[in-house]
């Protein structure tokens, strides 16, 4: 089964240059975040077509996704991060999006979750912003893509079933690499509006995931995100143990912490190596299963996405809540690529970096996921095969798939006879939490905008005060006014910092949770599917029994034998599927409980960080005022 839970949204949702655009685009955006339904829908679809999970609307594949070869169990070639190796010719790209560009360079990250998630297929505004271009973009790319055979074999979670980790797969794939030709890309780019290609050669496409305690960002993030660490590798049930995070920065919590196994993650700012961007990811761990205590790897954005794909394929169906990574963002990447040096690019880079860091931290904190060989590989392996591809459908293709899948799932929803009230209630909670969080997110983003506005206004006032000061002939007053101008300048900086605090402490956290809620939703959906399978098997068994009865009547001994065999087969299946259902239900339940605990911890940690930053601001303010007061008094 595939678990394409990826609340990805074409960051085109952020494209909103104008409010008009915003409403249009965000509607397209809103679907995916936390849209577990889509995930499962896609999964449903995928189940039929065995396509790779839908990771991302942003990156586009033609509807006629050639990457949906009818390979049964294998994950069809997820979208290769085709351009991850390739630098799109900036010139072509920069030129290409004419009208679109204007919007592109707007404030990233706004209203990512502006509208409530649609739960039915009725409205799936997952329009690709660049619908028409999608097809072209990836056709050529795919030629050069080498599919990495499913390293993620979709069995149950390796832990659950006690499957041995599958190193074999990983390393046999070593040689496989994608070698998209540069020329392909260029050609493709020119065909499209160029934006997509940007997307691929992502600033974070080469990201070294670096986990270290030293980076101040890390500490901040770790404080925020460091969560109960992975449980002991040996014990599966230890997943339940709430090992607490150990972060050097969280000294006050150390006393309570079980000094257990954890991996601390930090993702550094991306470096441009050649034409692509790599991130250093450093890890620090006490987990005995890792070779070293601290290690660094370089990873690209596509690697993160690839990891997610694998994990969700493997573990999603078993009811695990697989943390989703940040979405691809054409907009953000374009700005960065084209070298637009402004606050919005910097914002995007930081948001992305933080999101990846938190994503990874969540993954390694998960007691079961940390055991997964793909995770291990991601953390440790020097170079990941580029064949890891993250599939994304073009808008049109995606929509089609979603529609199909959603119908299937919604039918399931109606039918399922929820015997366990707990699940029903929890699902309700998840749904309302999703709505609430979206609202909160919009509000915080609004706050951020105002703060930035204040920063600008303050700068403007400072300037006017300076002018007034220089025009003033009374010396003392003149000096005071100049001082005032300086104070205001400093305050401008404070406002900027506060805006950043709002953003990165709150907005991003809430965004994370909207995505996570989608994953939670997905796990419920998976449980439903498993239930359905069981029900279907029961129905089939019934049919077989009826057939047997008929045959008895008709007295056809040879066919009867066959019938009996089939009955036995289906009886076994029924038993198996029932057990599966119970197992998955238990997992989902456990995961949800863990999720909720984590949520509280996260938010608590974050508000503390936020307050600390607020306090710092205020204290700075006090200093400024205290310095200015004597100047003001000295005027007369």
């Amino acid at each position: 089964l595939l678990f394409p839970e990826q609340p990805s949204t074409d960051r085109s949702g952020h494209l909103t240059g104008t409010s008009a655009d915003k409403s249009e685009v965000t509607s397209g955006v809103t679907e995916s975040p936390g849209h577990g339904k889509i995930g499962s829908d896609a999964e449903e679809e995928a189940q039929e077509t065995s396509t790779a999970p839908i990771i991302d609307l942003g990156a586009d594949l033609p509807a006629s996704n050639t990457q949906q070869p009818p390979v049964s169990d294998k994950i069809a070639d997820p979208l290769v991060d085709l351009l991850s190796d390739v630098s799109p010719p900036p010139a072509a790209d920069a030129k290409k999006p004419s009208g679109a560009t204007i919007d592109l360079f707007e404030d990233e990250g706004r209203d990512l979750f502006a509208e409530p998630r649609q739960t039915k297929s009725a409205k799936l505004p997952q329009k690709s912003l660049f619908g028409e271009a999608d097809e072209d973009l990836f056709e050529q790319k795919e030629k050069s893509v080498t599919t990495k055979a499913a390293a993620a074999v979709p069995t149950g979670g390796p832990l659950q079933d006690g499957n041995p980790t599958e190193p074999a797969d990983i390393f046999t794939e070593e040689a496989v690499a994608t070698a998209p030709s540069v020329s392909n890309t260029s050609t493709v780019n020119s065909k499209t509006n160029g934006v997509h290609s940007e997307e691929e050669a992502d600033i974070f496409s080469e990201a070294t995931v670096e986990l270290s305690l030293d980076s101040p960002r890390t500490e901040r993030k770790n404080d925020v995100m460091a969560k109960p660490s992975a449980s002991a590798p040996t014990s599966l049930s230890a997943a339940a143990s709430q090992a607490k995070p150990q972060s050097a920065a969280l000294e006050e919590e150390e006393a309570e912490l079980d000094d257990k196994f954890e991996v601390l993650v930090s993702v550094k700012d991306p470096e441009k190596i050649g034409e692509v961007y790599e991130k250093h990811c450093a890890f620090q761990t006490t987990l005995p299963m890792f070779r070293n205590k601290t290690f660094t790897v370089r990873r690209r954005f596509s690697d993160f996405l690839g990891l997610y794909e694998k994990l969700s394929e493997k573990h999603g169906p078993n009811g695990f809540i697989v943390p989703p990574p940040p979405e691809k963002s054409i907009l953000g990447m374009t700005k960065v690529k084209v070298g637009k040096e402004d606050s919005s690019s910097a914002d995007f880079v930081e948001r992305r970096r933080g999101a990846l860091e938190r994503y990874l931290q969540r993954v390694v904190n998960h007691p079961s996921l940390i055991q997964d060989p793909d995770v291990r590989e991601f953390l440790e392996r020097e170079e990941l095969p580029r064949a890891v591809s993250t599939q994304a459908l073009s808008g049109a293709g995606f929509l089609k798939m979603i529609n199909k899948a959603t119908d299937a799932v919604s039918k399931m929803t109606i039918k399922m006879n929820e015997s366990d009230v707990w699940f029903e209630e929890k699902l309700q909670e998840v749904e309302s939490a999703d709505q609430q969080f979206r609202k909160l997110h919009a509000l915080v983003e609004s706050l951020v905008i105002h703060r930035k506005e204040l920063s600008l206004n303050t700068a403007s006032f400072a300037k006017s005060t300076a002018m007034l000061g220089s025009a003033e002939d009374n010396t003392a007053l003149s000096r005071a006014l100049s001082q005032l101008a300086e104070v205001e300048d400093k305050m401008e900086q404070l406002h900027q910092d506060q805006a950043a605090n709002d953003t990165f402490s709150f907005a991003e956290l809430i965004a994370d949770y909207i995505r996570l809620l989608g994953a939670v939703r997905g796990s419920f959906d998976h449980r439903m599917k498993v239930w359905q399978r069981w029900q279907d098997a029961q129905a089939m068994l019934q049919k077989k029994r009826e057939t047997e009865a008929k045959l008895l009547w008709a007295n056809k001994p040879d066919k009867l034998q066959l019938a009996k065999e089939e009955i036995a087969e289906w009886e076994a299946k029924v038993t198996q599927y029932e057990r599966d259902f119970e197992r998955v239900s238990a997992t989902v339940r456990k995961e949800v409980v863990r999720f909720e605990k984590e949520k509280t911890k996260n938010f608590k940690r974050q508000i503390i960080k936020y307050l600390e930053s607020l306090l710092q601001s205020q204290q700075q303010l006090i200093k400024y005022w205290e310095a200015f007061l004597p100047e003001a008094k000295a005027i007369a």
Partner: protein, 370 residues
């Protein structure tokens, strides 16, 4: 502005420096202000109700005062524009800072106006001031005769006199300086207002967020749910504090420096008006001189008379103007200093209070059971 003026020679029977507007009553469109002034004799107070039209009546009387030599050289205390209970956006924009804060700043501005008028050595001799401050009846609403100070009535072509070169360096310098300052001050006041408006927006946004967090509170016995709900409530309180903080910051801004910049701006304009009047008189004088020179013998005597009269007027104006300018410079610096000091002190206080608040919140969170 706040100076204690010996009002022995004035017609006023009340102190000028501590006139207060204690209340404003809104009745539909109309705003009525309650003005309290202290009797000189120390035996009590006068309470009067006045509308903006009454203020204008006063101002017109001041403008049209006769038998005051050099009256045109006076820098008349500026009266804020008319406010209405249901002010249009245009009016609000015109009022700037004064339009904020439920008319409190506006009242302050009117108050300042009255204080300035009542302590002005020339102006406070006008009976209209006494009537305005002490008469229980509303001052007559009769239309005051057209006065020379209504700039709007001046023909457009008169405007070009503004640039007329001066004969006196002192005044030329003052004119130039005033021109620059007027522009700068106006800009600064506008930018300041922008800041305040954004601060208010932030306060509102914090309030919304705080309210939205309450929606995340879920009932139920589940301990995890309860923990999160509790957290949400506390975070909500944090944002509420932020809202209060920002609201205070904005208020402080308005009530101190905002008012100060506004007054300075209007005062600079008032000085500009005065200087312009003087310049016009200068032009008039120069014309009179020319006429007298060129006059045919028949008219010559008359022209000479005119010239002499104009000369006298001009000199009187200059005399008053010099005084006024000197006074003005001192007063405005003092006023701005006061504004800046008050502003700083209030913001400092607010910052300290907020710090305490945030600290409390922080401690509460840290102490929360995990």
């Amino acid at each position: 502005m706040m100076e204690e003026v010996k009002e022995v020679t004035s017609a006023l029977s009340v102190h000028g420096h501590n006139i207060k507007i204690t209340d404003v009553v809104k009745d539909g469109d109309a705003l009525t202000f309650v003005i309290v002034s202290q009797k000189l004799s120390g035996t009590g107070e006068y309470h009067v109700d006045r509308t903006w039209d009454d203020f204008e009546w006063l101002q017109q009387h001041l403008f049209s005062q006769e038998d005051v030599p050099g009256l045109q050289g006076v820098i008349f205390p500026p009266l804020p524009a008319k406010a209405s209970g249901n002010a249009s956006a245009k009016i609000m924009k015109q009022l700037g800072v004064l339009g904020l804060g439920e008319w409190q700043p506006y009242c302050k501005a009117l108050e300042t106006f009255l204080q300035q008028v009542a302590t002005h050595k020339i102006l406070n001799k006008n009976k209209a001031v006494e009537v305005f401050l002490t008469s229980s009846d509303a001052p007559g609403r009769q239309k005051v005769k057209k006065n020379i100070f209504n700039r709007l009535s001046q023909a457009v072509e008169e405007m070009r006199k503004e640039g007329h070169k001066d004969v006196d360096e002192f005044f030329q310098t003052e004119r130039d300086h005033n021109l620059v300052l007027t522009g700068c001050t106006k800009t600064a006041a506008e930018k300041f207002l922008d800041m305040v408006l954004t601060e208010q927006k932030i306060a509102v946004a914090c309030g919304h967020f705080s309210a939205a967090l309450h929606l995340c509170v879920e009932p139920g016995e589940d301990p995890d749910k309860k923990a999160f709900s509790r957290l949400c409530v506390q975070i909500s309180e944090v944002f509420d504090s932020m809202k209060k903080n920002m609201t205070s910051v904005a208020e402080n801004n308005v009530n101190t420096l905002g008012l100060g910049l506004d007054l300075e701006s209007r005062y600079q304009e008032a000085e500009k008006e005065m200087l312009f009047r003087r310049t016009c008189k200068l032009v008039e004088l120069e014309n009179a001189r020319r006429n007298a020179e060129k006059a045919k013998p028949v008219k010559k005597a008359a022209m000479e008379e005119v010239k002499t009269a104009t000369q006298t007027e001009f000199q009187q104006i200059c005399g008053v103007a010099r005084q006024e300018i000197k006074q003005f410079h001192g007063v405005r610096v003092k006023m701005l200093q006061q504004a800046l000091v008050q502003w700083c002190e209030k913001q400092l206080l607010t910052a300290k209070e907020s710090t305490d608040q945030f600290n409390q919140h922080l401690q509460a969170f840290r102490g929360m059971a995990q």
